[in-house]
C-alpha cells in the first residue's frame, strides 16, 4: 500500500465521520417524532413535581396525578403538583434511570410505582422500548449510565439512528412540523389527541369509553416459569427502592384494579404474582396497595369501567379511581 493511499484513506475516513455525525443529528431532528415521553421527561426535568407516578400503560390510564396529589400529605403539607410518567413498555430498569434523572434535576417527594406483574415475567425487548426513554433524556450522567446499562446491546441502528424504529412513510410528511416543534421548544399537547384517547398536561392519558364487544382480544396472563426475567426485573426495582431511600424520596407500590373477568381467567397465575409481590414489598419495607386482593373492595371491577380486558380504565373511571387511590395512600 502506498503512503499516498494512506493519506487519501485518512481524508476519506475523517470527512466521512464528520459528515455522518452531522447527518445523523440532522436526521434525528427531522425524523424522530415528538412523542408524549418527550413532554413527560420535559415536565419532570424542567419543573418541580412533588408526586411522580412510574409504571406501565395501566398506570398511565388509571392514575390522574391531579386527583391524587391534593389528597396526599408529605412533611405536613399536601403535594402541590404531580406528573404521570408511566408508559407501555416501561420496565423497572427504565423507572430506575428516570428516577436518577429526576433526582439530579427536580427531586420528587413521592414516587408511586405501579406494578404490572406481566412486566416482571417478561424480558424487555431491545430497541424502541429503550429509545422511547433514552432518546428524551437530556445529556446527563443518568443518560450515560442508562446507555451503558441498557442500550449497549441494542443493535447499531437503534443506538445511532433512533428514527429507525419509526416508519419513514409516516414521519417524512411530518418533517417540517417535527423540526419546528423541536427547534422552537414546542410541547403543545394537542398533537397527541387521538380518536381513542387524549393526553393531558400532567401525563395522564384519558381513554375514551369502549363497549365490551369492541374490546381488544386478550391473551391471558402467565407468571410462573419466568424466574430469570423475574430476577432481573425485580433487581432493578430493588435498586430503585434503595436509590429512593438514599435520595430521601418516599416510594410506594400499587397494582391497579383489573376487571373481574380478567382475574377469573387465570386465578392461579394471579395468585402466584400477588404472593410474590406481597413477599417482595414486605421484605423491602415498602407500602404495597393491591387493588385486586387487600384493597379489592375499594373500587369496583365491573367491565364497564374499563376500555379493555388488560385493565386500562376509561377516563371517567380513572378519575374516580384516582380520587379513591389518593385517599387510601394519604
Amino acid at each position: 500500500m502506498h503512503s499516498s493511499d494512506g493519506k487519501k484513506a485518512a481524508k476519506v475516513l475523517i470527512l466521512f465521520l464528520i459528515a455522518a455525525a452531522l447527518l445523523l443529528v440532522l436526521l434525528d431532528l427531522m425524523l424522530y417524532p415528538c412523542t408524549f415521553m418527550r413532554n413527560d421527561i420535559h415536565a419532570v426535568t424542567s419543573e418541580q413535581q412533588d408526586l411522580v407516578i412510574l409504571g406501565t400503560s395501566n398506570g398511565k390510564m388509571d392514575l390522574d396525578p391531579d386527583r391524587i396529589a391534593g389528597s396526599v400529605v408529605r412533611d405536613g403539607e399536601p403535594l402541590r403538583s404531580g406528573h404521570n410518567l408511566c408508559v407501555g413498555g416501561e420496565y423497572p430498569v427504565d423507572a430506575y434511570y428516570i428516577t436518577k434523572l429526576m433526582a439530579a434535576e427536580n427531586k420528587p417527594k413521592l414516587i408511586v410505582f405501579e406494578v404490572d406483574p406481566g412486566y416482571f415475567a417478561t424480558e424487555k425487548e431491545p430497541g424502541n422500548n429503550y429509545l422511547l426513554f433514552h432518546h428524551e433524556f437530556p445529556l446527563s450522567l443518568a443518560k450515560l449510565q442508562y446507555f451503558a446499562d441498557a442500550m449497549r446491546n441494542c443493535d447499531i441502528r437503534s443506538a445511532l439512528f433512533a428514527p429507525y424504529e419509526y416508519s419513514l412513510l409516516y414521519e417524512i410528511p411530518r418533517v417540517k412540523e417535527t423540526l419546528t416543534r423541536k427547534l422552537t421548544g414546542d410541547y403543545d399537547i394537542s398533537y397527541f389527541k387521538g380518536k381513542a384517547q387524549e393526553y393531558h398536561e400532567n401525563g395522564f392519558i384519558e381513554r375514551y369509553p369502549v363497549e365490551e364487544e369492541n374490546f381488544a382480544s386478550y391473551d391471558g396472563f402467565t407468571f410462573e416459569g419466568n424466574e430469570e426475567n423475574l430476577r432481573r426485573n425485580t433487581a432493578y426495582l430493588s435498586k430503585l427502592i434503595a436509590y429512593c431511600r438514599a435520595q430521601d424520596i418516599d416510594i410506594l407500590a400499587a397494582v391497579m384494579p383489573l376487571p373481574d373477568v380478567t382475574l377469573d381467567r387465570d386465578p392461579e397465575q394471579f395468585a402466584l404474582a400477588w404472593e410474590y409481590f406481597d413477599a417482595f414489598f414486605a421484605e423491602e419495607g415498602v407500602d404495597f396497595y393491591n387493588f385486586n386482593t387487600d384493597y379489592y373492595n375499594a373500587y369496583p371491577h365491573s367491565t364497564d369501567l374499563f376500555a379493555d380486558y388488560d385493565g386500562h380504565m376509561n377516563g371517567d373511571s380513572a378519575r374516580a379511581f384516582s380520587q379513591v387511590f389518593g385517599h387510601i395512600i394519604r
Binding site: A10, V12, G127, N128, F161, E165, L168
Partner: protein
C-alpha cells in the same frame, strides 16, 4: 456481545486504540486480552470450555513436538521418527477424542436422546447443556492444528499464550471463518504499523457486510418466514420462499463474515475469505469451493484426503476395481469419501435429520457427478455441446443454483412432508401478487411494495458487486482509487442504507453462530 451492537463498535474502537497506541511489542497481548474480554462477555462458563480446549491442544501438540524433536536428534533418524509418529498418533487420538468429544457431548447429546425416545419410547429427559459460543470453530481450528503438527506440516507452538491467541482471536468467534495455524498465527504475533488504508478497507467491508445482513437478509427473512408459515395460503409464492431463504442465508452468513474480515483488517490482519461468489458456481463441487470455503477446505485436507489415501480405502478401491472394472472401480472410493465428508458437513450444521439429509443430498450429487464424469463427456460430444461457450456456462450456473435451492427446501422447514409440499407448490402455483398481502413487519402491508423494492434493489446491487468481483476486481482496493468526494458519498450511502432501510426490530443475530 453481538457483532452488530453498539457495544461491539465501542469494543473494537477501544481495542484499536490500545493496539496502535501502545508499544508495538504489546500488540499481540492487546489482542489476547481483548479476545478474552470479548469471550467473557458471554459469561464465565463458556470460558471454561475454551480453556479446556486450549489446554488439551497445547499439551498434545507440545508433547508431539517434543517426540519429533527428540527423534530428529537420534542416530537412526528414520526408525526414531517412525516410533515418534506412532507415539504421536496415540496422543493425537486422545486429544481429538477430548476435543470432538466435548463438542459432540454438548451439541449432540439431546439429539441422541430424542432419537432413543423416538425409537424406544424411553421418555428420557433432555439434558440442560450449554453450547458455548464458537465451540465448533475453535474445535475445528484446534484439531486442524493438531493434525498439522502430527503430519509435521506445522511446527509446534511452545508458547501457550501464542497458541491461545490463535484459538481465541475474537472476530472469528461468532461464526468463523475456520482459520489455519500456518495462515493466521504469524500475523497475530507480528508487529503492525498503523495504516489508514487498512482502516478504510476494514470499514468499507464492515458497512457492506452490515448492508447484506441488516437490509437484505432481514427483509428476506420477513417474507420467507411468512411464506413458510402459511404454505397453503401463500402457495402462489412458494418458489420465492426458497429464493428468499437463499438471500437470507447468504446475506446473513457472508455479511457476518464481511464484518469479521473487516474488523481483522483494521488490525492489519488478513483472514481467509469464506465466500467467493458462490452463486456463480458451475457445479456443486464448485459451489463448495466458493461457499463456506474454510470449512470446505478443512474437510478436504483433514477428512477427504486422509480418508481417500487411507489403507482401508486403498483395499476397498482394489475390490471395487475388480468388481466394476478399472474406470468405475477407481471412482467408487472417491464417491464414498465424498458421501462421508458431506454427511459430516450435515452433522456439523446441527443435530437434526434435516441437516444430515441436506449434507447427504450434497454428497450424493457430488458422488454421482464423479461417477458420471466420463459419461457426461461422451454425451456432450454426441450433442455437440461446446462446454466453453457462454450459453453452456450460464446453463451450468442456473442448474447448480437450482440444485442448491432444492436442498434448501429441506433446510428451512421442519418436516419432509412440508418440504415436499413447498416443492409441489413451487411448480404448480404462481401468483406474485400474494406478496402484497404479507405485512412488512411492524410497518404493515402499506410498506410491502417499498420493502420488496429495497430487497430487489439490494439483490441487484449484490449481483453487480459479485459480478465485478467474479471478473477479478478487488472492490475495497478499487474504491480507494476513486475521488475522495465519491468515496465519502459511498460510505454515507452505505451507512444510511444500513441504518434506515432494514425492517424494524428485526435483529435476528447470526444464523451461523448456532453452529
Amino acid at each position: 456481545m453481538s457483532l452488530v451492537s453498539i457495544m461491539f463498535s465501542v469494543f473494537v474502537t477501544v481495542a484499536l486504540l490500545l493496539y496502535y497506541l501502545l508499544p508495538r511489542k504489546a500488540q499481540s497481548a492487546v489482542l489476547f486480552g481483548m479476545s478474552v474480554l470479548f469471550y467473557l462477555s458471554y459469561g464465565i462458563q463458556p470460558v471454561l470450555f475454551l480453556v479446556f480446549a486450549v489446554g488439551v491442544t497445547y499439551t498434545a501438540a507440545v508433547r508431539m513436538g517434543a517426540l519429533y524433536e527428540a527423534a530428529g536428534n537420534e542416530e537412526d533418524r528414520r526408525a526414531a521418527m517412525a516410533s515418534a509418529k506412532k507415539s504421536s498418533r496415540r496422543i493425537l487420538i486422545i486429544a481429538m477424542l477430548l476435543n470432538f468429544g466435548m463438542l459432540a457431548f454438548l451439541k449432540y447429546t439431546n439429539f441422541f436422546i430424542d432419537n432413543i425416545n423416538g425409537v424406544l419410547s424411553a421418555g428420557l429427559p433432555h439434558l440442560k447443556l450449554l453450547l458455548p459460543l464458537g465451540i465448533s470453530y475453535y474445535t475445528f481450528q484446534s484439531v486442524g492444528y493438531l493434525l498439522d503438527v502430527y503430519w509435521q506440516r506445522s511446527r509446534c507452538e511452545n508458547n501457550l499464550f501464542r497458541l491461545a491467541l490463535f484459538l481465541v482471536f475474537f472476530p472469528y468467534m461468532v461464526q468463523g471463518p475456520i482459520s489455519r495455524y500456518g495462515q493466521l498465527a504469524g500475523q497475530l504475533y507480528e508487529n503492525h504499523d498503523f495504516d489508514w488504508a487498512n482502516i478504510h478497507r476494514g470499514l468499507l467491508r464492515i458497512l457492506w457486510g452490515l448492508f447484506k445482513m441488516m437490509v437484505l437478509a432481514e427483509w428476506a427473512s420477513v417474507y420467507r418466514e411468512a411464506i413458510f408459515a402459511d404454505p397453503d395460503g401463500l402457495a402462489g409464492i412458494a418458489l420465492f420462499g426458497v429464493l428468499l431463504y437463499t438471500v437470507e442465508l447468504y446475506g446473513n452468513f457472508s455479511g457476518g463474515i464481511d464484518i469479521v474480515l473487516g474488523v481483522a483488517s483494521m488490525f492489519s490482519i488478513r483472514m481467509e475469505e469464506n465466500f467467493r461468489q458462490p452463486f456463480f458456481s458451475v457445479s456443486i463441487t464448485d459451489f463448495w469451493q466458493r461457499w463456506h470455503i474454510t470449512q470446505g477446505s478443512w474437510m478436504r485436507d483433514y477428512v477427504f484426503y486422509p480418508l481417500t489415501l487411507s489403507g482401508f480405502m486403498k483395499k476397498f478401491g482394489k475390490k471395487t476395481k475388480k468388481a466394476f472394472g478399472k474406470k468405475v472401480g477407481r471412482t467408487i472410493p472417491v464417491c464414498l469419501a465424498n458421501l462421508i465428508v458431506f454427511f459430516l458437513v450435515g452433522v456439523w450444521h446441527g443435530p437434526t435429520w434435516g441437516n444430515i439429509g441436506w449434507g447427504i443430498y450434497n454428497g450424493v450429487i457430488i458422488a454421482f457427478s464423479v461417477l458420471m464424469e466420463n459419461r457426461y463427456k461422451i454425451w456432450k460430444k454426441a450433442l455437440h455441446i461446446n462446454d466453453k461457450s457462454k450459453g453452456w456456462h450460464l446453463f451450468m450456473i442456473l442448474r447448480t443454483f437450482a440444485l442448491i435451492n432444492i436442498s434448501w427446501y429441506f433446510d428451512c422447514v421442519t418436516s419432509l412432508s412440508k418440504a415436499l409440499k413447498m416443492m409441489r407448490y413451487s411448480v404448480t402455483a404462481f401468483d406474485p401478487s400474494l406478496f402484497l398481502t404479507i405485512p412488512a413487519g411492524k410497518l404493515g402491508t402499506d410498506f410491502t411494495p417499498y420493502a420488496l423494492g429495497i430487497l430487489l434493489g439490494g439483490c441487484l446491487i449484490l449481483f453487480c458487486v459479485s459480478l465485478w468481483k467474479e471478473r477479478g476486481a478487488d472492490p475495497e482496493a478499487d474504491v480507494l482509487k476513486a475521488p475522495v468526494a465519491l468515496q465519502v458519498l459511498l460510505f454515507l450511502l452505505l451507512l444510511l442504507a444500513v441504518l434506515a432501510l432494514g425492517p424494524q426490530s428485526a435483529g435476528r443475530g447470526f444464523i451461523y453462530a448456532q453452529f
